[in-house]
């Protein structure tokens, strides 16, 4: 039997950023295909195209033998493509029954037929073996139950293709088992399932086929039977390491920062490590591993519930999202850089004329920020230059420890190299740097030491020589 869904040569760019650069994929009836790839490999973009939210720039999609387009989410639903979103897209204020029939209400004489809604919803929930009723308010459900609501929604829409986008990221083992039971049931009923996950054990437990994306390109696919874990990992990371400014070797000095048994409820626990002068300490992990949360506690933006931070207080954080957390977009470059340095700029309580501007000009020159003047608004700069402004604003304080959370995400190669160079020089000048990154080549090239986090805990520490792609990925993903 031909595949239910065949995708060939799919391309998609956002602005100048290439998300998909020629992706092929086949999904078969009665089969569960695991889709693997590092963060940013293009998995989410593919899901959005299949659910009708984005349109591909090029490429073809065949569904049930016919070439199709999916211009809107309603079209995806009508085709029979259901999605269980990682972020649980449900309506908290409505009941389960109503969630299942939003925009597809059964009608009688033009009015919603609530009896049918109730009956069909309960039937689907019974079929799935759900442990909650159709009249339950969704707000009172747990995350796992909300996933079941999304699956039930796909079922009442007669979905023939179900996409599970990292549904297990926040589920307990028992809840995962329950979800897998339902997934197998759908597979046996003839559905094609696409299962996206980072956890290898789950892939071998549930899937029978695999597909691997890397940097927006398909790099491998086929039946899982003969393929081992090591082969999958090799496919996921096997790319040339492009590095323009590798970390210069520095003899680490005294300990700057010591963290003991740090914990924050529900986010991370039992975190202990130290950071030395001149050192770049990498923290690798998958999205949701608790790295950014740890950074916010170290920085002081959130409180720890347990443990001690020794030597904190002079720490700067370049946060993950430079647009919402790192800068104030409508402000000028000068105003952004001045923000954490106002005390120094205004020793007598007011900001002296020209001080702000001079400080900004100094950093524009030092980091080669491409801008017309210090008065230019940050929102009009390119991503890379925005990131340099965020770096400058904290570097100007000369903190003892600088934490960089995904500092090169979504910026071009040139700006990336510049960020790496600044990082390296800053550490070389006797400061400490903590680099949080999901990008293996970056972590490996820049770090003197690498810590790996997985689900809120440290799962390994690697020296520069031990830190290979395979070893890090294995520690990060339950492999």
């Amino acid at each position: 039997m031909p595949p239910l869904l065949t995708i060939s040569g799919l391309h998609k760019s956002f602005g100048g950023v290439r998300a998909l650069a020629g992706v092929d994929l086949e999904l078969h009836r009665g089969s569960i295909t695991a889709l693997l790839g590092e963060n940013g490999a293009g998995k989410s973009t593919l899901v959005k195209i299949l659910s009708g939210v984005h349109q591909p720039d090029a490429g073809a999609i065949h569904f049930d033998g016919a070439a199709i387009r999916i211009p809107t989410p309603a079209n995806a639903r009508d085709l029979g493509i259901g999605v269980v979103h990682q972020e649980c897209l449900v309506f908290d204020q409505l009941t389960v029954a109503e969630n299942l029939f939003v925009n597809t209400h059964p009608r009688r004489a033009g009015l919603v037929d609530w009896q049918t809604v109730q009956r069909r919803a309960q039937a689907v929930l019974d079929e799935l073996g759900a442990d909650f009723g159709a009249q339950t308010p969704v707000a009172s459900l747990g995350i796992a139950q909300k996933h079941v609501v999304q699956i039930a929604r796909a079922l009442v829409n007669d979905s023939r293709l179900l996409i599970l986008d990292e549904p297990t990221a926040s589920l307990s083992q028992r809840e995962c088992a329950e979800l897998f039971r339902i997934a197998r049931k759908l597979r046996d009923a003839g559905c094609a399932l696409l299962f996206i996950t980072h956890r290898f054990e789950e892939i071998f437990e549930l899937a029978d086929r695999y597909a691997v994306f890397r940097d927006g390109v398909s790099v491998g696919a086929g039946p899982l039977g003969a393929t081992g874990r090591d082969e999958l990992i090799r496919l996921m990371v096997g790319r040339p390491v492009e590095q323009l400014f590798p970390k210069q070797a520095v003899q680490p000095g005294e300990v700057l920062l010591r963290v003991e048994n740090l914990a924050r409820d529900g986010e991370f626990e039992d975190i202990s490590f130290s950071l030395r002068r001149g050192e770049i300490l990498g923290i690798y992990g998958l999205v949701g591993a608790g790295r950014s949360e740890l950074a916010q506690v170290l920085f002081g933006a959130e409180r720890a519930h347990q443990g001690a931070i020794d030597g904190g207080g002079d720490i700067a954080l370049v946060p993950e999202d430079r647009q919402s957390q790192g800068s104030i977009l409508p402000f000028s470059i000068a105003a952004n850089i001045a923000l954490p340095n106002l005390a120094a700029l205004a020793p007598r309580g007011w900001i002296g004329s020209g001080g702000e501007r001079a400080l900004a000009q100094q950093w524009i020159d030092a980091l080669a920020i491409k801008a017309e003047s210090p008065a230019q608004a940050v929102q009009s700069l390119s991503g890379g230059n925005q990131q340099k402004v965020v770096l400058a604003k904290w570097l100007a304080r000369k903190p003892a420890v600088l934490i960089l959370d995904e500092p090169t995400k979504g910026i071009d190669v040139g700006a990336k190299a510049a960020v790496h160079q600044v990082m390296s020089e800053f550490a070389g000048a006797g400061h400490g740097v903590i680099l949080i990154s999901s990008e293996l080549p970056e972590i490996i090239a820049m770090s003197d030491r690498v810590l790996v986090m997985r689900r809120g805990r440290l799962r390994g520490e690697f020296t520069r020589t031990d830190a290979t792609s395979e070893a890090l990925l294995r520690a990060a993903s339950d492999a």
């Binding site: 989410p73 897209l89 109503e98 609530w114 009249q135 809120g456 805990r457």
Partner: protein
């Protein structure tokens, strides 16, 4: 009790029931002190005073449900009221029906203008309607050249429609009652209305369900505007005068009635029954305070306390753990 399937019945219904009881207690307290308040004529008068508020608040509720707000309702009302008065002055023998149609259509168009700006230009609702609020008031001045249309320039039909009584209640009260029943049924049973709740509750999830939140906002503004237009005629006929500043600031009472009635300012939650109760509650306070001898300033003060108390009662803690720590597997 068997719960109907259509909604988070227990929560919403419990709030409405509590609120109805609270309103009754308030009413009883007033009546105990001032038995004259319970006289049928007086109660009919309270309903008469509250009727326009009920209709406007129901329209406003739709807009708030989809995360908008309409500050221009009172200006819309005043403009359509002036249109009705001018039309009646030009064509005194045309009867009431053309006036009703004129105000509904004109109000709907004014609402559509708000809606288009919010939907297509993605402008923040509060800014859009703050702007159109001034524009609509300005247009009244342009139309009337600042002059008043007085009772002696209005035809008997025009004035008589709202004042006619049936079973002891005025046309105005019956209209408000009809609106209330229509909204209570429609918001439960009309598919488009259910999508309104979805779009306001979680626009992103609604988009994945094929509902365009902006289009829902547009529709809400049109309905809200049409009701405001109709209310314009009712207002002008009831008070027998039309000029630039009628119902000045009334939009705030309308929004307050929605919030007191349990509509979430963050969108996606609220019941038509709750809104009607909110209006009655405000109406009882407004008409009983003068009896008790409390000044208008205290009325505003008490209104404010009631709004804050209502919002406080419907506030819910919103905590979401961000990461995914769990026991080792």
């Amino acid at each position: 009790m068997k719960l109907p399937a259509w909604r988070n019945w227990s929560q919403v219904a419990r709030r409405d029931l509590q609120f109805a009881l609270l309103s009754l207690v308030l009413l009883a307290a007033v009546v105990l002190k001032y038995p004259a308040f319970a006289a049928p004529d007086n109660l009919a008068g309270v309903l008469d005073d509250t009727g326009i508020l009920v209709m406007l608040a129901l329209g406003q509720m739709l807009v708030i449900l989809v995360r908008g707000v309409d500050l221009s309702v009172a200006a819309n009302l005043a403009l359509c009221g002036m249109l009705a008065a001018l039309f009646n002055r030009e064509f005194p023998d045309a009867g009431v029906l053309p006036v009703l149609l004129l105000t509904l259509v004109a109000g709907g168009l004014l609402g559509a203008f708000n809606g288009i700006l919010v939907w297509k230009l993605r402008l923040p609702p509060i800014v859009v309607t703050l702007g159109t609020m001034s524009i609509y008031r300005g247009v009244i001045y342009l139309l009337s050249h600042g002059s008043w249309v007085n009772e002696n320039e209005m035809s008997a039909d025009f004035l008589g429609f709202t004042r006619a009584h049936f079973l002891g209640l005025s046309t105005l009260t019956w209209l408000a009652l009809a609106c209330a029943v229509l909204f209570i049924v429609a918001l439960r049973r009309l598919p488009a209305a259910r999508n309104l709740y979805a779009a306001g509750g979680n626009p992103e999830a609604a988009a994945y369900a094929g509902i365009e939140a902006g289009r829902m906002q547009f529709r809400a503004y049109v309905v809200c505007g049409a009701i405001a237009g109709l209310a314009g005629y009712l207002w002008v006929a009831r008070f027998a005068v039309a000029y630039t500043d009628i119902a000045l600031g009334f939009e705030l009472q309308v929004i307050a009635a929605c919030l007191i009635g349990g509509v979430a300012i963050t969108g996606g939650a609220g019941s038509a029954l709750g809104v009607v109760l909110g209006c009655l509650f405000l109406g009882i306070i407004r008409s009983s305070l003068p009896l008790v001898g409390i000044s208008a300033f205290w009325q505003m003060f008490i209104n404010g306390i009631v709004i804050l108390a209502a919002v406080l009662l419907s506030a819910r803690p919103q905590h979401r753990p961000r990461a995914t720590l769990e026991a080792p597997r």
